[in-house]
Amino acid sequence: MATLSAASASQQHAADVNVLVRRQRSLWGDALYRLKRNRAAMAGLAVVLVAAVLAILAPVIAPYDPIRQDTPNSLMEPFWGNPKFTLQQYPLGSDQLGRDILSRLIWSARISLVVGFVPVTLVFLIGATVGMAAGFYGRWVDNLLMRLVDVIYAFPDLLFLIIIMATLRGTILGNLLGGLVLMFVAIAVVGWVGMARLVRGQVLSLKEKEFVEAARATGATNRRIMFRHLFPNTLAPIIVSVAFGVPSAILAEATLSFLGIGIKPPTPTWGVMINEGFVVFSTTPWPVLLPAFCISLVMLAFTFLGDGLRDALDPRQRAR
């Protein structure tokens, strides 16, 4: 009885101060809520987080130095293989130089994630700026920037990447951090055009909205309108595009390294491992299959996450 009256009293109080008794949700809170209910996206996120933890803690977790050679024990099979060719100290086997595959896979996660995120950040910075400027100012600015975008867009991505990597490999830029810096630049140069087009399209439609006129009527400058009013409105598609950009960058790195023009050995990356394992593929497939599996898993995880983000940020597009 007492609790009942207390409850009604608190209800009465709420009505008195005219507080709506409901959970407040912001735009982003809403999106997060929807993302959390998406199992595939959460699984993807889990895989990404595990990979990130492995990458960050690689020096602690990896049992061996990834480039330590143990030639007498080369080409060992993983623990589920033929017991004659397995060694307890190398649970996932070793490659033709006797390097521990498990350690190499863990260290490779570092490169892959860095290659996934750094170029995408560059892509975001360049693409969003160019797209915003082109869409907002229009006219000759738009024409100039978009023709440049068209030129790059017309080139096949992979061919462009190969050309950049192959020609600049010998230069100072190509030797920084074992070719990593050149890789960032190459992926960013090829990738920013998509982001620029996306942002430009968004800005073109947004700048005609009444709230932009209202902002102008309050005396906001062009810069303020762009950064404060337009940019946050383009964020949702940008986030989705970034989420899909990460796996494609990882794949690009793997492809280039597999072709032998990516990251320079002995730095371990999944692409480099596939490249090196290829020569012994007929003897034992595991030096190729294990890194390939890692690439697939991480790509799948990012794709699930990207799908989930898209559904969460724009529920109208979801066909149900």
Binding site: N18, V19, E210, A215, R216, T218, G219, A220
Partner: protein
Amino acid sequence: MPELLEVKDLHTQFFTRDGVVRAVDGVSFELAAGETLGIVGESGCGKSVTALSLMRLIPQPPGRITKGEILFDGQDVLKMDDDEVRGIRGNRVAMIFQDPMTSLNPVLTISRQVSEALELHLRMDRTESRKRTVELLELVGIPSAKSRLDDYPHQFSGGMRQRVMIAMALSCNPKLILADEPTTALDVTIQAQILDLLKNLAREFRTAFILITHDLGVVAGMTQRIHVMYGGKIVEKADTGELFANPKHPYTWGLLRSIPRLDETRREKLRPIEGLPPDLIALPPGCRFAARCQYKRDVCTEKEPELVSIPNAKADHEARCWGTQAGGWLVDVDYRTDTTVFATAKADA
């Protein structure tokens, strides 16, 4: 008393592929501090373009103010550089837009949007501007304003959003507020509330007010004077009471006839004005309303009348019509009892 706003011979044109659209074609008017003015006319007659021109918000290209002066507090807005104009916008002249659903940014919180002008013009910091925002929101009648500061526009109803827009307009204590169809997007009960709020606030702060609408009913209780626009020109200027009691332009008659009335017997149908407003690219040589006017004579299609004082009316009552000028054939016609309209309607049937 010096005028707050003086518009002289304003011409705003849009240069399109089909030709030059003369959206505002020689509009002049004055507004004293604290005065309220209604600009009335149907869609596409240049009301909104006039308002946007006052703040130099005409999209350029294709639009351009080709001629005229806009003196605000004695300064010509058209001669200012961009920084000076920005200093006026939202600060001394504020604007309320038609559709509160789209004129608030969906991804910014209410407090950030209301405090924008405060931060821009009054250089307030975050804490100050939030405090002032609460005051403003309370002023426009938003309940428990403090707890709603960090809400997003989609959490507000249409009427509430228009209140937020009004709070934004009032934030820097402007001398002039331009309200472009502020209640058109709202339902009727809310319309009355918003109009009341606007009226009271304008009176309280002695803010001059230009209310742009197509609805004579809206301006009736709100403004001191009314200007009726047609085809980019002002066709009639009068005090509000005078305009309703003694309108002197056939277009105004048409507008008044198309309002349903509660105080008259239901013996007649509403009489809409037949036809469409003139094409602003290819304007007719004579009176712009001639094509739709039941009283037109040859002179109407040949020469354009001037905006002049009218006999049988108050001194400051002006109209742009050959018929109602001194010596015209409509001087003694009372549109309420006139039968010409019914005659043509019968002839049509």
